[in-house]
């Protein structure tokens, strides 16, 4: 036996003596506590689902009509627009992609759904005895979907107008495990990922409940997706199976697929390439990836790659151990990410503000907002603010960060639901 082996053997024996395993006398006390507590719904866990409000620019429109015709059309549109404004400006549909005006922020509280003004009060959109959670505005800002919780792991999708009218059940049967969901490119469909790890599948379902859900690309274990601006005809998806984690690009119906980033031989890991996001102009994709040296994970790095798979580059970091959860600014030039650094014996010390920097890797990062750790975040429809959470669960609060000066304020309500900011026509 070597000296080391002998010492380790003594360590085993000594630890056995010190441990003195015995059944604790506080077991019943613990169970009494847990029996009174309600479990947290599965979709409230960070990283489990990522509904999104995309923020691409509208495609450029080059008119070819004669000038007088244009004036006439504009005059008619102006008259029509004024009429619509008088009827009710809140009902005007925003373009599904591109910058828009900021509307209300929808959230759930105690199983009811509210729409809040960050500068003022909130109004109840949907109340009642049912447990309704995770409301999310459609890209046009006129519709909402939400999830009705039957048990903690069995849920159904419902939709309604933004004012709470015309409620409709979308998925006829309960869905066992939801991990991610979002509106489709139009208000006609909802996309979601459901299933167990390793067998996750991407589904789509008609938003009016007129058809059964269908699986997209059933041979791929898709765990995340993001629609490509400016028209949402393509998507980038993340797959995770025994071969590893990969990114694919494909049409929204699963056809014309091609691999964008291949598995690198590392062990499949939950956060590896977890949130690939197209830039708002649709030309680039940001994604996070563990730096794998063939044996160990080193640090999580932020990558930016062209949408055609070329030009993959890593954003330089100032000694960070984790660069992740990217959010693009509306001009597609900058990224906002969450960063962790080593701190003593702690490998991943979050507790730092968001970092905003140029997506081409030039220049240095600028800190904005409060310290955060693995929070969900989205850009406001007008592109000037970041909405996120700060504080620890369950007392966490939504916060709105000004991208220009980095200042932030809390919203006047408390919720754990994913940030969803209504888009209004510009």
């Amino acid at each position: 036996m070597t000296g080391t082996g002998r010492f380790e053997r003594r360590l085993h024996v000594g630890l056995d003596e010190l441990a003195e395993p015995r059944f604790p006398d506080y077991f019943d006390e613990v169970l009494a506590v847990t029996s009174r507590r309600r479990q947290r719904p599965a979709w409230t866990f960070p990283g489990r689902w990522i509904p999104m409000v995309d923020i691409a620019r509208r495609p450029a429109f080059a008119p070819s009509l004669p000038w007088r015709a244009i004036v006439l059309v504009l005059a008619l549109l102006l008259a029509a627009g004024l009429g619509l404004f008088v009827v009710g400006s809140a009902n005007r549909a925003a373009p599904p992609f591109g910058a828009a005006r900021n509307g209300l922020i929808v959230y759930s509280s105690n199983g009811d759904i509210y729409a809040g003004d960050p500068n003022g009060g909130s109004k109840l959109i949907l109340g009642g005895p049912a447990e309704d959670v995770e409301p999310n505005y459609s890209r046009t800002g006129t519709r909402l979907f939400f999830i009705r919780s039957q048990t903690d792991t069995m849920n159904t999708f419902w939709t309604m107008n933004a004012d709470g009218s015309h409620i409709k059940q979308v998925t006829p049967d309960p869905i066992a495990t939801l991990t991610m969901y979002d509106w489709g490119p139009t208000d006609d469909a909802i996309y979601y990922v459901a299933g167990e790890l390793g067998t996750l599948r991407l589904h789509s379902v008609a938003a009016d409940g007129s058809a059964q859900p269908r699986i997209i690309a059933p041979d791929l274990a898709i765990s995340a997706f993001w629609f490509r601006p400016p028209d949402g005809r393509e998507m980038v998806v993340r797959t995770q199976d025994s071969s590893g984690v990969a990114l694919w690009v494909m049409n929204v119906d699963g056809t014309n697929r091609r691999m964008l980033v291949a598995p690198n031989g590392s062990d499949p890991e939950e956060h590896d390439m977890a949130e690939p996001r197209y830039s708002p102009d649709g030309t680039k994709i940001a994604y996070q990836r563990w730096n794998w040296n063939g044996t160990d994970y080193q640090n999580m790095q932020m990558h930016v790659i062209n949408a055609d798979g070329t030009g993959d580059h890593v954003i330089p970091d100032p000694g960070a151990t984790f660069d992740g959860w990217p959010v693009w600014t509306v001009d597609s030039k900058q990224l906002v990410i969450q960063r962790a650094f080593p701190n003593g014996s702690t490998y991943l010390d979050f507790g730092y503000p968001y970092a905003i920097f140029n997506a081409d890797g030039t220049g240095s990062a600028r800190p904005i907002g409060p310290p955060v750790a693995g929070q969900h975040a989205e850009i406001s429809p007008d592109g000037t603010k970041l909405i996120t959470f700060w504080g620890d669960d369950p007392s966490k609060t939504q916060a709105i960060i000004d991208l220009a000066d980095g200042t932030f304020k809390s919203v006047p309500w408390s919720t754990g639901s994913y940030p969803s900011w209504q888009r209004l026509a510009p």
Binding site: F7, E17, A19, P24
Partner: protein, 185 residues
Amino acid sequence: MIQRELVERARRGDHDAFAELAGTTITRLDAVARLILRDRELARDAVQETLVRAWRDLPGLRDPDRFDAWLHRLTVNACLDLTRRRRRRVSEVELEPILSVGLPDETDILALRDQLDRALARLEPEQRAVVVLRYWLDLPLPAAADALGIPLGTAKSRLHRAIAALRQTFEVDEREPEFEGGPVA
């Protein structure tokens, strides 16, 4: 019933299944917490916190087969959180140095226990955690790294430093019997 089924039932809100899971694991968790914290009351707090969090957050556990690793991680986190909050205090363990360098027999096991307790006290809680996971739970190092939430390379170096510190303490004790019976700061 196999653990996977119990985890799946508990994940769906079956508290009886959770109680069965808790009953089969609490002895182990209590011992792990006592070894890391070196304090029965703190260990009790840590295990209570662990099981309450486990019940609350079970729906977030994707893979039922990772239940044990997840529970170990919750336990270690609860212990380390408590060590960060608690006020440092002086240990009053009595020293009984071990002169034998071979395998312990029945007569010096008690002394070994005290010597190890004293050596563990000189480690950082994070180092104690990796030692306990590796040498008391017998977890492979990748599993210990997973439970600690750190990269494998970090776990390796942390364990290496912890073992070196333990060995050094043992060697000093064995060279300096004059410490016998004295208090340890």
